[in-house]
């Protein structure tokens, strides 16, 4: 019985492929690249009217979420943790989305009151 647990633990370790130096620098260049893209949009595409501000803002948010994914999954190692821990951390974050939806709706109402 104890032998079974031992091998199981060993297997866990083998598939537990962790952050290598190469992977760390890959993630760094992805983060840097996304930030550079954000700067190109903010300093060149929007001022030169290649894209409107209303289109730029959703792009910023999507790119930010990409950066957040890479930081949490790789730097914070969450991608390599047990699925139970991943859900324990990710599912409560969904409440934040709820608050965003509620307050976006509410602020639409506020701007009408202020006009």
């Amino acid at each position: 019985m104890s032998e079974t647990i031992h091998t199981e633990h060993h297997d866990e370790h083998a598939e537990h492929d962790t952050m290598t130096k190469k992977r760390i620098w890959n993630v760094f260049f992805i983060l840097l690249g996304i930030t550079v893209v954000e700067f190109i949009i903010a300093l060149w595409l929007v001022p030169q009217h290649h894209i409107p501000v209303t289109a730029a803002n959703p792009i910023y948010i999507v790119l930010t979420l990409f950066k957040a994914f890479f930081i949490v999954a790789y730097f914070m190692h969450l991608k390599f943790e047990r699925i139970g821990l991943v859900f324990a951390i990710i599912v409560p974050v969904l409440f934040i989305i709820g608050l965003i939806l509620v307050l976006t709706n509410e602020s639409h109402h506020w701007i009408d009151l202020r006009m």
Partner: protein
């Protein structure tokens, strides 16, 4: 042996059957995750209230006009350059942190010390940049509950300036970046303590550099929050 194993013994080997952590992480690391989750809620409520106030306003100080100086070098016409530098410093210090964790897995004490010192320097550089940024805005007249005079305000809005929204901007900016900066500061202090422990060989004796991993989680979270602060204060 396998023929004599009863059903109940087989059930006991599943992760959620008890007797061991279903998450397969050490207690302190799990608690760090849950602390960071609660901290994520705090920062979200701050940033979402900022979003709601800004979304419901009809004028707001324009980021490309408010943040267009590099303190001590360029006074005007360099939007986002300084904050770009700050972002780069913080991402860079996140990389040195994860390299310290990686060295810790190999029990390479000297490498851990080197990368930890790099992380501390990055954190201190970021704090220095933020101090310059704050004093620049303060010299313009912004502070908690204080805004510049009307002439300066006219240069900071694309349309007609609004004193109400300038006030909201000032309060939210100093509260949110201040709360984030306080996290960076405490992160640097914790990093220094951990580095001293590494130097004294505490984790070498313990046989694992798990503490470096835990403080690393905190440090990456600080970087994560900055990614959002950067987007919603400086880009949008």
């Amino acid at each position: 042996m396998s023929t004599t194993v009863s059903q109940i013994d087989e059930v006991k080997t599943t992760p959620w059957a008890g007797g061991r952590s279903p998450f397969a992480v050490e207690y302190g690391k799990m608690m760090m995750w849950f602390f960071l989750l609660s901290d994520a809620f705090t920062f979200s409520s701050l940033l979402i209230s900022y979003g709601a106030l800004r979304f419901s306003s009809n004028a707001w100080p324009a980021p490309d006009l408010v943040f267009q100086s590099v303190p001590g070098m360029i006074e005007h016409g360099a939007p986002l350059v300084f904050v770009g530098l700050m972002t780069f410093i913080l991402i860079m210090s996140s990389v040195t942190m994860v390299l310290a964790v990686e060295a810790g897995h190999r029990n390479a004490k000297k490498e851990v010390i080197g990368w930890m010192i790099g992380t501390i320097i990055g954190g201190l550089m970021f704090l220095g940049c933020q101090a310059l940024e704050w004093s620049h805005l303060h010299s313009e007249g912004f502070w908690w509950g204080a805004i510049p005079n009307m002439e300066t305000l006219k240069e900071l809005f694309h349309g007609a300036p609004s004193t109400t929204y300038a006030h909201q901007f000032a309060n939210l900016f100093f509260t949110i970046t201040g709360f984030h900066g306080f996290h960076v500061f405490s992160g640097v202090v914790i990093n220094i303590i951990i580095t001293i422990n590494v130097l004294m060989g505490t984790y070498e004796k313990r046989g694992s550099y798990l503490m470096v991993e835990k403080v690393g989680l905190y440090w990456h979270f600080v970087d994560l929050v900055w990614v959002f602060v950067f987007t919603f204060f400086y880009l949008v």
